[in-house]
Protein backbone atom coordinates (compact mmCIF):
# COMPACT_ATOMS: atom_id res chain seq x y z
CA UNK A 1 0.00 0.00 0.00
CA UNK A 2 0.99 3.62 -0.45
CA UNK A 3 0.26 6.33 2.11
CA UNK A 4 -0.74 9.73 0.83
CA UNK A 5 0.26 11.27 4.20
CA UNK A 6 3.64 11.05 5.90
CA UNK A 7 3.74 8.77 8.92
CA UNK A 8 5.19 11.58 11.05
CA UNK A 9 2.23 13.79 10.14
CA UNK A 10 0.03 11.24 11.94
CA UNK A 11 1.83 11.60 15.29
CA UNK A 12 -0.43 13.15 17.93
CA UNK A 13 0.09 16.92 18.26
CA UNK A 14 1.63 16.53 21.73
CA UNK A 15 4.38 14.35 20.29
CA UNK A 16 5.10 16.07 16.99
CA UNK A 17 7.94 18.35 18.14
CA UNK A 18 10.86 16.11 17.22
CA UNK A 19 13.80 18.06 15.80
CA UNK A 20 14.30 15.34 13.21
CA UNK A 21 10.77 14.81 12.00
CA UNK A 22 8.16 16.75 13.95
CA UNK A 23 5.79 18.79 11.83
CA UNK A 24 5.46 21.32 14.68
CA UNK A 25 9.22 22.00 14.95
CA UNK A 26 9.90 24.89 12.56
CA UNK A 27 13.69 24.66 12.85
CA UNK A 28 13.99 20.87 12.53
CA UNK A 29 14.63 18.56 9.61
CA UNK A 30 10.92 17.69 9.19
CA UNK A 31 11.73 14.28 7.69
CA UNK A 32 8.70 12.63 6.07
CA UNK A 33 8.41 8.84 5.73
CA UNK A 34 5.87 7.03 3.56
CA UNK A 35 4.75 3.43 3.32
CA UNK A 36 5.54 2.06 -0.15
CA UNK A 37 4.68 -1.60 -0.50
CA UNK A 38 6.71 -3.65 1.99
CA UNK A 39 9.05 -0.76 2.76
CA UNK A 40 8.91 2.75 4.11
CA UNK A 41 10.72 5.43 2.18
CA UNK A 42 11.91 8.94 3.01
CA UNK A 43 13.85 11.45 0.97
CA UNK A 44 15.94 14.32 2.23
CA UNK A 45 18.39 16.74 0.65
CA UNK A 46 21.07 17.96 3.10
CA UNK A 47 22.06 21.60 3.13
CA UNK A 48 25.52 22.55 1.90
CA UNK A 49 26.72 23.19 5.46
CA UNK A 50 25.60 19.80 6.81
CA UNK A 51 28.94 18.21 6.08
CA UNK A 52 31.54 16.20 8.00
CA UNK A 53 34.34 17.12 5.62
CA UNK A 54 34.06 19.28 2.51
CA UNK A 55 31.88 17.43 -0.01
CA UNK A 56 30.59 14.73 2.34
CA UNK A 57 27.40 14.60 4.39
CA UNK A 58 27.70 14.91 8.17
CA UNK A 59 27.45 11.48 9.81
CA UNK A 60 25.42 12.90 12.68
CA UNK A 61 22.74 13.97 10.21
CA UNK A 62 22.78 10.51 8.63
CA UNK A 63 22.32 8.95 12.08
CA UNK A 64 19.47 11.36 12.81
CA UNK A 65 17.63 10.58 9.58
CA UNK A 66 18.03 6.83 10.10
CA UNK A 67 16.72 7.22 13.65
CA UNK A 68 13.56 9.16 12.75
CA UNK A 69 12.85 7.03 9.71
CA UNK A 70 13.21 3.84 11.71
CA UNK A 71 10.89 5.13 14.41
CA UNK A 72 8.26 6.05 11.82
CA UNK A 73 8.58 2.61 10.25
CA UNK A 74 7.88 0.99 13.63
CA UNK A 75 4.81 3.18 14.14
CA UNK A 76 3.40 2.30 10.74
CA UNK A 77 4.09 -1.40 11.28
CA UNK A 78 2.16 -1.33 14.54
CA UNK A 79 -0.84 0.18 12.81
CA UNK A 80 -0.72 -2.29 9.95
CA UNK A 81 -0.32 -5.22 12.38
CA UNK A 82 -3.45 -4.04 14.17
CA UNK A 83 -5.34 -4.13 10.91
CA UNK A 84 -5.69 -0.37 10.61
CA UNK A 85 -5.13 1.78 7.57
CA UNK A 86 -2.28 4.31 7.66
CA UNK A 87 -3.86 7.73 7.55
CA UNK A 88 -7.16 6.75 9.19
CA UNK A 89 -6.04 8.08 12.59
CA UNK A 90 -3.03 8.90 14.75
CA UNK A 91 -0.18 6.40 14.85
CA UNK A 92 1.54 5.30 18.08
CA UNK A 93 4.71 7.05 19.15
CA UNK A 94 7.90 5.05 19.50
CA UNK A 95 11.20 6.17 20.98
CA UNK A 96 14.72 4.95 20.26
CA UNK A 97 16.14 2.25 22.51
CA UNK A 98 19.28 1.75 20.46
CA UNK A 99 20.70 2.97 17.18
CA UNK A 100 23.49 1.51 15.12
CA UNK A 101 24.86 2.99 11.92
CA UNK A 102 27.51 1.46 9.69
CA UNK A 103 29.05 4.04 7.38
CA UNK A 104 29.91 1.97 4.34
CA UNK A 105 31.22 4.78 2.17
CA UNK A 106 31.39 8.57 2.28
CA UNK A 107 28.00 10.11 1.35
CA UNK A 108 28.50 12.85 -1.24
CA UNK A 109 26.63 16.15 -0.83
CA UNK A 110 24.52 17.58 -3.63
CA UNK A 111 22.16 14.62 -3.89
CA UNK A 112 18.74 13.79 -2.54
CA UNK A 113 19.27 11.00 -0.02
CA UNK A 114 16.85 8.09 0.00
CA UNK A 115 16.12 6.01 3.08
CA UNK A 116 14.40 2.63 2.75
CA UNK A 117 13.50 0.47 5.68
CA UNK A 118 11.86 -2.76 6.72
CA UNK A 119 10.84 -4.18 10.06
CA UNK A 120 13.00 -7.18 10.88
CA UNK A 121 11.08 -8.22 13.97
CA UNK A 122 8.42 -6.75 16.19
CA UNK A 123 6.15 -7.44 19.11
CA UNK A 124 3.70 -5.30 21.04
CA UNK A 125 6.43 -3.45 22.89
CA UNK A 126 9.22 -2.96 20.39
CA UNK A 127 10.42 -3.35 16.83
CA UNK A 128 13.82 -3.79 15.20
CA UNK A 129 14.01 -1.84 11.94
CA UNK A 130 16.68 -2.03 9.25
CA UNK A 131 17.39 1.10 7.24
CA UNK A 132 19.47 1.61 4.11
CA UNK A 133 20.50 5.13 3.11
CA UNK A 134 21.58 5.83 -0.44
CA UNK A 135 22.91 8.74 -2.46
CA UNK A 136 22.87 8.75 -6.26
CA UNK A 137 21.85 5.10 -6.29
CA UNK A 138 24.60 3.81 -3.98
CA UNK A 139 23.92 2.61 -0.45
CA UNK A 140 26.40 4.53 1.71
CA UNK A 141 25.07 3.72 5.20
CA UNK A 142 23.06 0.98 6.85
CA UNK A 143 21.31 1.39 10.15
CA UNK A 144 19.43 -0.60 12.73
CA UNK A 145 16.94 1.06 15.04
CA UNK A 146 15.50 -0.60 18.13
CA UNK A 147 12.19 1.22 18.51
CA UNK A 148 10.32 0.99 21.81
CA UNK A 149 6.73 2.08 22.50
CA UNK A 150 6.89 5.44 24.24
CA UNK A 151 6.91 4.84 28.01
CA UNK A 152 4.38 6.69 30.13
CA UNK A 153 7.25 8.53 31.85
CA UNK A 154 7.88 10.40 28.61
CA UNK A 155 4.31 11.55 28.18
CA UNK A 156 4.89 14.47 30.53
CA UNK A 157 7.93 16.75 30.41
CA UNK A 158 10.23 16.10 33.39
CA UNK A 159 10.21 18.34 36.42
CA UNK A 160 13.40 20.31 36.78
Amino acid sequence: MHTPRAIQDLYPDDFAHCFGCGRINPHGHQLKSYVEGEETVARFTPRADQVALPGFVYGGLIASLIDCHGIATAAAAAELAAGRTIGAGPVPRYVTGALRVDYLAPTPVGHELELRSRVRERNERKAVVEVALSAAGTVTARGEVVAVRMPSTMQQPPRR
Copy 2:
Protein backbone atom coordinates in the same frame (compact mmCIF):
# COMPACT_ATOMS: atom_id res chain seq x y z
CA MET B 1 47.25 15.79 31.24
CA HIS B 2 44.85 18.60 30.49
CA THR B 3 44.61 20.35 27.13
CA PRO B 4 44.07 24.07 27.13
CA ARG B 5 42.81 23.89 23.53
CA ALA B 6 39.93 21.79 22.27
CA ILE B 7 40.97 18.79 20.19
CA GLN B 8 38.68 19.91 17.36
CA ASP B 9 40.45 23.27 17.26
CA LEU B 10 43.59 21.36 16.26
CA TYR B 11 42.03 19.83 13.13
CA PRO B 12 43.69 21.17 9.96
CA ASP B 13 41.72 24.07 8.41
CA ASP B 14 40.73 21.98 5.39
CA PHE B 15 38.98 19.49 7.66
CA ALA B 16 37.41 21.78 10.26
CA HIS B 17 33.98 22.21 8.63
CA CYS B 18 32.13 19.44 10.45
CA PHE B 19 28.56 20.42 11.34
CA GLY B 20 28.99 18.77 14.72
CA CYS B 21 32.37 20.12 15.78
CA GLY B 22 34.11 22.16 13.10
CA ARG B 23 35.31 25.56 14.25
CA ILE B 24 34.81 26.88 10.70
CA ASN B 25 31.12 25.89 10.49
CA PRO B 26 29.17 28.89 11.82
CA HIS B 27 25.82 27.07 11.89
CA GLY B 28 27.03 23.84 13.48
CA HIS B 29 27.17 22.59 17.05
CA GLN B 30 30.87 23.47 17.48
CA LEU B 31 31.38 20.73 20.07
CA LYS B 32 34.68 21.06 21.93
CA SER B 33 36.44 18.05 23.50
CA TYR B 34 39.33 18.25 25.96
CA VAL B 35 41.77 15.69 27.31
CA GLU B 36 41.32 15.36 31.07
CA GLY B 37 43.56 12.70 32.58
CA GLU B 38 42.69 9.32 31.08
CA GLU B 39 39.46 10.59 29.56
CA THR B 40 38.29 13.18 27.09
CA VAL B 41 35.42 15.41 28.14
CA ALA B 42 33.00 17.65 26.27
CA ARG B 43 30.07 19.70 27.48
CA PHE B 44 27.10 20.93 25.49
CA THR B 45 23.79 22.54 26.34
CA PRO B 46 21.04 21.72 23.83
CA ARG B 47 18.69 24.42 22.64
CA ALA B 48 15.06 24.26 23.73
CA ASP B 49 13.94 23.13 20.27
CA GLN B 50 16.44 20.24 20.06
CA VAL B 51 13.95 17.79 21.51
CA ALA B 52 12.52 14.40 20.57
CA LEU B 53 9.41 14.85 22.71
CA PRO B 54 8.58 17.86 24.87
CA GLY B 55 11.14 17.99 27.70
CA PHE B 56 13.55 15.42 26.32
CA VAL B 57 16.67 15.89 24.20
CA TYR B 58 16.56 14.76 20.57
CA GLY B 59 18.25 11.38 20.16
CA GLY B 60 19.74 12.44 16.84
CA LEU B 61 21.60 15.24 18.60
CA ILE B 62 22.83 12.81 21.25
CA ALA B 63 24.12 10.50 18.50
CA SER B 64 25.82 13.45 16.80
CA LEU B 65 27.59 14.59 19.96
CA ILE B 66 28.75 11.04 20.75
CA ASP B 67 30.04 10.72 17.20
CA CYS B 68 32.10 13.93 17.17
CA HIS B 69 33.38 13.42 20.70
CA GLY B 70 34.46 9.86 19.89
CA ILE B 71 36.27 10.99 16.76
CA ALA B 72 38.12 13.69 18.70
CA THR B 73 39.09 11.15 21.34
CA ALA B 74 40.60 8.91 18.66
CA ALA B 75 42.58 11.83 17.22
CA ALA B 76 43.99 12.78 20.62
CA ALA B 77 44.87 9.16 21.39
CA ALA B 78 46.83 8.89 18.15
CA GLU B 79 48.85 11.96 19.08
CA LEU B 80 49.53 10.77 22.59
CA ALA B 81 50.50 7.29 21.33
CA ALA B 82 53.02 8.95 19.01
CA GLY B 83 54.54 10.71 21.98
CA ARG B 84 53.35 14.16 20.98
CA THR B 85 51.75 16.80 23.16
CA ILE B 86 48.15 17.78 22.42
CA GLY B 87 48.22 21.37 21.28
CA ALA B 88 51.72 21.29 19.83
CA GLY B 89 50.44 20.86 16.27
CA PRO B 90 47.52 19.64 14.17
CA VAL B 91 45.92 16.32 15.12
CA PRO B 92 45.01 13.63 12.57
CA ARG B 93 41.47 13.51 11.22
CA TYR B 94 39.39 10.41 11.79
CA VAL B 95 36.02 9.56 10.27
CA THR B 96 33.25 7.36 11.59
CA GLY B 97 33.17 3.74 10.49
CA ALA B 98 30.35 2.74 12.81
CA LEU B 99 28.34 4.32 15.58
CA ARG B 100 26.22 2.65 18.21
CA VAL B 101 24.15 4.44 20.81
CA ASP B 102 22.18 2.84 23.63
CA TYR B 103 19.59 5.21 25.03
CA LEU B 104 19.39 4.11 28.66
CA ALA B 105 16.92 6.72 29.84
CA PRO B 106 15.27 9.85 28.46
CA THR B 107 17.69 12.83 28.59
CA PRO B 108 15.95 15.83 30.14
CA VAL B 109 16.37 19.25 28.53
CA GLY B 110 17.55 22.25 30.52
CA HIS B 111 20.86 20.77 31.58
CA GLU B 112 24.42 20.94 30.35
CA LEU B 113 25.23 17.51 28.95
CA GLU B 114 28.60 15.98 29.74
CA LEU B 115 30.32 13.45 27.49
CA ARG B 116 33.21 11.37 28.80
CA SER B 117 35.10 8.89 26.70
CA ARG B 118 37.96 6.44 26.68
CA VAL B 119 39.69 4.51 23.95
CA ARG B 120 38.96 0.81 24.33
CA GLU B 121 41.35 -0.34 21.63
CA ARG B 122 43.34 1.23 18.87
CA ASN B 123 45.92 0.57 16.19
CA GLU B 124 47.43 2.73 13.46
CA ARG B 125 44.32 2.59 11.30
CA LYS B 126 41.41 2.75 13.70
CA ALA B 127 40.22 3.12 17.28
CA VAL B 128 37.17 1.95 19.20
CA VAL B 129 35.99 4.62 21.63
CA GLU B 130 33.44 4.30 24.41
CA VAL B 131 31.40 7.37 25.31
CA ALA B 132 29.06 8.02 28.24
CA LEU B 133 26.65 10.97 28.07
CA SER B 134 25.13 12.31 31.25
CA ALA B 135 22.61 14.95 32.25
CA ALA B 136 22.37 16.25 35.83
CA GLY B 137 24.75 13.54 37.00
CA THR B 138 22.91 10.58 35.47
CA VAL B 139 24.28 8.64 32.49
CA THR B 140 21.40 8.57 29.99
CA ALA B 141 23.19 7.24 26.90
CA ARG B 142 26.22 5.14 26.11
CA GLY B 143 27.90 5.07 22.75
CA GLU B 144 30.59 3.26 20.85
CA VAL B 145 32.38 4.90 17.96
CA VAL B 146 34.59 3.02 15.51
CA ALA B 147 36.92 5.76 14.31
CA VAL B 148 38.95 5.22 11.14
CA ARG B 149 41.84 7.32 9.86
CA MET B 150 40.49 9.55 7.12
CA PRO B 151 40.97 7.77 3.78
CA SER B 152 42.71 9.63 0.98
CA THR B 153 39.47 9.51 -1.04
CA MET B 154 37.91 11.96 1.42
CA GLN B 155 40.70 14.48 1.16
CA GLN B 156 39.18 15.95 -1.97
CA PRO B 157 35.49 16.77 -2.40
CA PRO B 158 33.84 14.27 -4.80
CA ARG B 159 33.15 15.17 -8.40
CA ARG B 160 29.47 15.45 -9.16
